[in-house]
Amino acid sequence: MKTLLYLYTTIIISLLFIVANISAQIKTDPSKNLPGDINGWSVIEADRHFDNETLYDYIDGSAEMFLSFGFSKVFNRIYSRNNQPDIIVDIFYMNSSYDAFGVFTHSVGKLEHEFGQQSQQTEGAIIFWKSNYYVSILCHPETSESREAISKLAGIIDKSINETGPLPEIINYIPNRNLVEESVRYFRHYNWINSHTFISNDNIFNIDQNTNGILAQYKEKNGNAIFLLIMYPDETSSASALNKFFESYEEKVVPDQIQQSKNNTWFGIKRVKNFIAGIFDSSSKDFADNILSSAESIINK
């Protein structure tokens, strides 16, 4: 009897889980909620889908950026209207909100919050991310009508994504004081290591998909600096990466010290538990030291 009860309970819980999961999927697929017409623009071509294999056919030059995070597919719809430019809607289904956030940080110039969790609007374009979706709506050249239409579409897509997604854990470890918020870049591929200043052409920090990296700019009244933080799976990995950095960096490095570089700026690198924190291009020794010390305190909390 007990066994049967246990069996029935398990089946019911499993069914509830499946139903909940399916309904969640239906609710959160923003491409299903797109209108057929918007402000006089209509869909006249079939929607297209691209995956890991076919992404190169669709976006020339940007595919690697999506693949360097985690990507499953992109939905593409084109709206047309007489005497107006086409509106191109792309919804990228990233593997996680971390990936959507990461792609967003590398593909924008400024930070706004009008749509999704973060957005940017430029001439003829709205880009935002929410949950695991990275959304782009383009219409070039921009007209007053198209500006209104893409804004409306962005709102529709934003509302159709019910849930938000968490930011990568590493974000919690970066100091907030003097941080230039829109300069934050998240990455898990070494290709992005030079996002704010040139550090190296090579993978001198052993960055891979199991490491989480952040680069950000810090500014105060008379100074600025670039902060690098990398979170490794364990302390052995961070120690090994630090050794590689010592061996490979173009300047001679003294561990745990803020040093003057060849270009008269200041840099320093420090391992704290499973993290490596670094400062590059700092305008002063004190500014570099303050940021590194803050990061160390946060990590040690």
Binding site: I59, S62, M65, V108, T122, I127, P141, E142, F198
Partner: protein, 297 residues
């Protein structure tokens, strides 16, 4: 130096020397150069009239710019003399362009190149103009001469889309060349389908792009009217000059040094690792013609 051992790098660098000597550099170019010239010769030509008020290109001005740059590059009095130094009547000519829909090689420029190639005596059916599909194109398959032309733009993975990178369509799987942020693109130039065939490189800097945004990497905010063409025999030198201009524009626009990410290291490595040409500006003889305002170099 033994002419037998002359490398492609030396060939590229000495192109202008041969031109100045009035020599036909085609059938056996390596035999022509007894002494290497240190510097690569590159022409940067700018003309504000090339873009009309409505934003469209003026085909006559494009033709003039191409012609003048060829005359200066090859040190000739007449345009036809310059072209005849690089194209002969029996050549089969592939004009490798770039059709990225936001910033393509202008059709006006393609036509201007084709016109001069035909004036060298090449039959129209022996001229191909293509970007994607060059591997399956009969003209490109049999090509004896290539002319390489594309706009420069920033690129999410290789730093910039460059003349060097423009040959990536000569492989079946371009993605195979994307490793280490496209570091070794210069090796493409050793493939039999292109090796030693490139007679001229034209980097289009009419409205170059200096920053990426969004999944397609394009916004009108990040292109500007530069009104220029960069023309040379050495693709690395042309790219190095273009890159310098893009970097300077970024500094002006963003108000601070904003390095390309990733850096366009394939250009420097084309020089230091692959020996394809000169990336060091000190080894480039840059000749500037025309409009000077906002030249950035």
């Amino acid at each position: 130096m033994s002419t037998k051992n002359l490398t492609r790098r030396e060939f590229i660098k000495t192109g202008s020397l041969a031109a100045a000597a009035g020599t036909f550099i085609l059938n056996n170019p390596r035999a022509l150069f007894a002494a290497p010239e240190e510097k690569s010769r590159v022409v940067l030509i700018r003309n504000k009239s090339v873009i009309n008020e409505d934003g469209k290109l003026n085909p006559e001005v494009i033709q003039e710019m191409l012609d003048e740059s060829a005359r200066v590059l090859f040190n000739t009095k007449e345009t036809s003399q310059a072209w005849k130094k690089i194209i002969k009547p029996e050549d089969i000519v592939g004009i490798k362009t770039n059709v990225w829909n936001y910033l393509r090689t202008p059709i006006e420029l393609e036509n201007a190149i084709k016109k001069r190639v035909m004036e060298c005596g090449v039959a129209e059916e022996k001229i191909g103009i293509k970007d994607r599909g060059v591997l399956r194109d009969p003209v490109f398959q049999k090509a004896t001469a290539l002319i390489n032309s594309r706009p420069m733009r920033t690129h999410y993975w290789s730093g910039v889309g460059s003349l060097i990178k423009n040959y990536i369509m000569f492989v079946d799987k371009p993605a195979d060349w994307h490793g280490d942020s496209c570091a070794d693109l210069a090796a493409l130039w050793r493939l039999p389908i292109v090796a030693d065939k490139t007679r001229l490189n034209i980097l289009v800097m009419l409205t170059p792009q200096f920053h990426n945004i969004g999944p397609h990497g394009f916004s009108p905010e990040y292109v500007w009217k530069y009104y220029g063409l960069i023309v040379g025999v050495d693709p690395v030198a042309c790219d190095a000059v273009g890159l310098k201009i893009i970097e300077a524009k970024r500094k002006e626009y963003f108000g601070e040094d904003k390095p390309l990410n990733p850096p366009a290291k394939h250009i420097e490595l084309a020089d230091t690792r692959h020996n394809l040409g000169n990336a060091d500006l000190k080894k480039i003889n840059l000749i500037k013609i025309g409009y000077k305002e906002g030249i950035f170099i």
